[in-house]
Symmetry: C2
């Protein structure tokens, strides 16, 4: 176990980024089409081909899921992933044709100081293609992939991941690009809201501050201060993928997504605000052949929520600041740790 | 401030219960129709007249919101509330008629040991009427109202409430009947998951256990053991109302509900499971005439989530066990505090 979503059998992760652009793409490729769904908690989602993820829709399985920077320009990234998958003969079969099913979501990183003067053609289609070509079991956390240009209210955001196993042996994992309107840390401290869910000091092992700071209940938003004080309140969004090796139906995958989303509420303050996307894709690779019981499905969703919560803190903990004035300091700079 | 939802101007709360039945009803009456909406997080909701609460539906304001025991039989309770409101001349005006708008939700408490042999006519319509007649600023927490017969996996559930004020002076509050499939306490300890959000030792002031128990990640369900081991996994559901004195539009009330629901994810493990209802009504009384800014609306939702989280712990902390074999021990019995 590498404490990455790739501990879940049946998927790989690839990332690509452009340091001058200060943005990037993360892709989850499934070895075989995976039953998937989505839960949208925030008020500002940016999505491509997500409508088909609801129960009752015809196409139940996806070939890949994409997280991208670039705001709505990043919705090109899924096209680059589709192109590679078509070359590999993948996709939903319609007569003699195949159409790779590649839903994805974007976050807003256009005001982070990177060079966004890309001319006519945005770079995200090619970043999507490059990310898919890079797919494997190992990948970088922090300032990488879709988290390359991400920020939170006080700190550099990033890409995070975590995994765990349920009591019955199902693997679950999360991948998240953290670009929240608020904070993953408590008040002015270095401590993470996710602390009660931390395993093996995976994000510093600080626990919760004791005593808890009196100002912990306050609202701290990205738009409050700093280089982006001019920014609209939509300069945000946390986007995630959770996956399990269990076999789930489409409605069960929807419930899996809804349960996993509790991890955002545990790790971020605020969560599910209007200017955040705060959405979770959920996918089931069915590599574990034993059908989960009702109880086991609850545990899969629960532990996936834990993984998402932990992955959010790991993203911040692993991130490094960008060399631009639009960047927030990273966790290590901010707290001298 | 009484740390109750009734700290929000423009509403009152009434409750009624039948100790032999081991069930009851809690009602939030609004002085004037309040813009309301709903967020449903769990997989087993039981609701009456809730479809109109979505943005885009014609009737935007409600006269009351009801939480009831009795599973789907409890959906009679809203009728009793409507009857009283009609006597008072309240209701949506349609020609010469008025129709009080009273959405509500139920929880499952039919297997708690109370006498459910009520003959042909269920008692919930009359309990709803009685609860509405009792409405005022003060009301009991714990084993009262809709929480009278409620249980969690390990402890007696109950009715809880909490309130707070935002930095800009908006009052927010929560009322919740806690009948969760899981736990509000951590592992085998007396400590609440809600501890980081506690104010003024409102549920015992224990904080989090230190160190956190190693078994805290495990799944503990109501159906796992005890007197209800035979019970179906639907013997659950946490249902809540959050309210603010801010003026909100219907879409803003929907966002308010979605944000507030994060409190369930913080206070309960698991939250949003398939056999739980886990739903939150949100209402805006508009008694504070100053329109909230975008930022203030985020804070209203955030602090309401805190209130819901705290109210869940307060419900468990205040509850007393029922004298039936179907009852779980209460927090005080279980931990000798």
């Amino acid at each position: 176990m590498n404490n990455l979503i790739t501990d879940v059998a049946g998927l790989s992760v690839g990332q690509a980024e452009d340091p001058a652009l200060a943005s990037g793409v993360s892709v989850v490729l499934f070895d075989e089409p995976a039953i998937a769904s989505i839960a949208i908690g925030g008020g500002a989602p940016g999505l491509r081909d997500s409508a088909l993820l609801e129960p009752g829709m015809a196409v139940e399985a996806v070939d890949a899921l994409v997280l991208s920077g670039g705001s709505a320009y990043g919705l090109d990234a899924m096209g680059g992933v589709q192109a590679l998958l078509r070359e590999r003969g993948r996709g939903f079969k319609v007569g003699a044709m195949r159409v790779p099913i590649v839903p994805g979501a974007i976050l807003f990183d256009l005001l982070n100081g990177g060079d966004k003067n890309w001319g006519l053609r945005p770079p995200y289609w090619d970043l999507g293609l490059a990310a898919a070509r890079n797919a494997g079991a190992d990948f970088a956390l922090g300032t990488a992939g879709a988290g390359f240009g991400a920020m939170t209210a006080n700190l550099k955001g990033g890409i995070g991941s975590a995994s765990a196993e349920t009591a019955g042996g199902y693997r679950v994992g999360a991948l998240v690009a953290v670009n929240a309107v608020g904070q993953a840390t408590i008040g002015e401290t270095a401590h993470f809201w996710a602390a009660p869910f931390e395993r093996d000091a995976e994000f510093g092992g600080l626990g919760l501050p004791s005593p808890l700071p009196a100002d912990r209940f306050g609202l701290r938003l990205k738009s409050d201060a700093g280089a982006s004080a001019h920014a609209p309140p939509t300069e945000n969004t946390t986007i995630a993928v959770v996956a399990s090796d269990a076999r789930l139906s489409r409605p069960q995958a929807k419930r899996f997504a809804l349960q996993a989303q509790t991890g955002m509420a545990q790790a971020l303050r605020p969560a599910h605000a209007e200017p955040d996307g705060d959405l979770v894709f959920a996918a089931a690779t069915a590599k574990n052949p034993r059908p989960p019981s009702d109880r086991e499905r609850i545990e899969i969703g629960l532990i996936a929520g834990d993984c998402l919560c932990r992955a959010i803190a790991r993203a911040i903990h692993a991130a490094r600041a960008l060399p631009f004035t639009g960047s927030r300091p990273d966790w290590h700079q901010a707290f001298g740790r």
